[in-house]
């Protein structure tokens, strides 16, 4: 059991978006740190802005976790993204008993070339501090068929070859997330940074990218403190944000 992550569990029969529900909770009161809003039937799950996160009912984990990373300045917020991605990756590694679990920049979780989990973090910022973070996680557990439009999906069941107990997965994932969050809180930035880079999908590899609408071959050098992807092309290293570079997989 995790110490505080998921201890206070708000279980919803169905929800349009657990992130929205959690954000509304925060507007009314200050729930305990580690509060999780969970549903097994999410109808309008959100990914990045216009994108959706689709999940088959009662097959997967879709939930939103509330943390108060007030110790993080706004300029350090990508550390939170790294820590959470590592927490999910740690869990997938140990549960599926595989090594090839990667974080595709900035924070998608991949097994091989396939996406197994997505993360959507929504912070509330007051001045220079992050007063709260709603961390939405969608993890494919027992779903084995996906709509065609979804690129490269995979689930734990597809890897492990057997059905997994959702409740057990949830508890273990909470432990993994909390461990990484505590690492962040303890100021172990270097460890998180090192582990994030170790898990970074395509690191030191030459790949095809679409950069500012042009096809380019570039090598992934790393991710800078602001969370930008550093790419080297023709001997020049440039840091890009997610609006300027697209992975070609």
């Amino acid at each position: 059991m995790a110490l505080f992550t998921g201890t206070n569990l708000v279980e919803l029969d169905s929800s349009e978006s657990t992130n929205n529900y959690a954000l509304n909770l925060l507007r009314k009161k200050q729930p305990f740190e580690g509060t999780i809003v969970r549903t097994f039937c999410q109808t309008l799950g959100r990914g990045q802005r216009q994108k959706q996160w689709e999940s088959e009912d009662f097959s997967n984990l879709t939930f939103s976790l509330i943390y108060y990373p007030v110790f993080l300045s706004v300029s350090k917020q990508f550390q939170l993204s790294k820590a959470i991605a590592l927490g999910v990756a740690d869990f997938v590694k140990s549960t599926a008993k595989i090594e090839d679990v990667k974080i595709k920049w900035p924070n998608d979780i991949y097994v091989g070339n396939k996406k197994i989990a997505g993360i959507l973090i929504e912070n509330t910022v007051s001045g220079n501090k992050i007063s709260s973070a709603v961390i939405g996680i969608g993890l494919n557990v027992n779903q084995t068929t996906f709509r065609q439009e979804i690129p490269n999906p995979v689930s734990l069941k597809m890897i492990a070859g057997k059905e997994l107990d959702l409740e057990n997965c949830f508890q273990k994932l909470c432990v993994s997330l909390e461990a990484r969050y505590m690492q962040l809180k303890a100021g172990k930035e270097n460890v998180i940074n090192e582990h994030y880079h170790k898990a970074l999908y395509g690191l030191n590899e030459e790949r095809e990218f679409i950069i500012d609408n042009k096809n380019m071959i570039a090598e992934i050098i790393g991710v800078d403190d602001l969370g930008r992807l550093k790419l080297e092309a023709n001997g020049i290293v440039t840091a890009y944000d997610i609006h300027h570079v697209v992975f070609k997989i």
Partner: protein
């Protein structure tokens, strides 16, 4: 200065035929302007006052319904506060493409109310106001990139 005194003052100013009167006492300041220097009728008076500090709550309501051109005036004489971006990212005025803007010109904001979103590397940051007041100007277009410390809003504080 109480509301009755302010009303008396407005009456006096409009009768006197001056275009602008500014009175400052300790932590209180009131500016009364008449439109185009005309003798404003008493009923029109709330249009032309702008008030800062303690009595703001009383005087604020009628002001908020004013056209933008009039409410932007205080921006020129240094009574506004600039809300700046706490980070590099992309500025969004609403929570989604089909959602209404968090704030528009003329809206009252309170300390702690969400005024915009700034996204950076897939982290979405709801930015809370640190002051209470009224939005005088929105300085950035929706979905535009912003730099650290770049001015986002002009606010007339209460």
């Amino acid at each position: 200065m109480n509301l009755k005194e302010i009303q008396e003052l407005i009456k006096f100013v409009s009768k006197a035929g001056v275009s602008e009167v500014e009175i400052q006492q300790k932590d209180f300041k009131i500016v009364i302007k008449t439109t185009n220097g005309e003798h404003g009728a008493v009923t029109a008076a709330p249009q032309v006052i702008s008030v800062a500090q303690p009595v703001a709550q009383v005087a604020a309501a009628p002001v908020a319904s004013q056209p933008e051109a009039a409410t932007e005036k205080p921006a020129d004489n240094g009574k506004t506060i600039t809300i700046k971006s706490p980070m590099i990212g992309t500025f969004y005025r609403s929570s989604g493409p089909d959602k209404p803007s968090y704030v528009n010109v003329g809206d009252e904001i309170k300390q702690g109310s969400v005024i915009c979103i700034i996204e950076a590397m897939k982290l979405f940051n709801e930015i809370e106001a640190e002051v209470s007041g009224r939005i005088v100007k929105v300085l950035i277009d929706d979905s535009s990139p912003v730099e650290y410390d770049q001015p986002l809003f002009l606010v007339e504080p209460y």
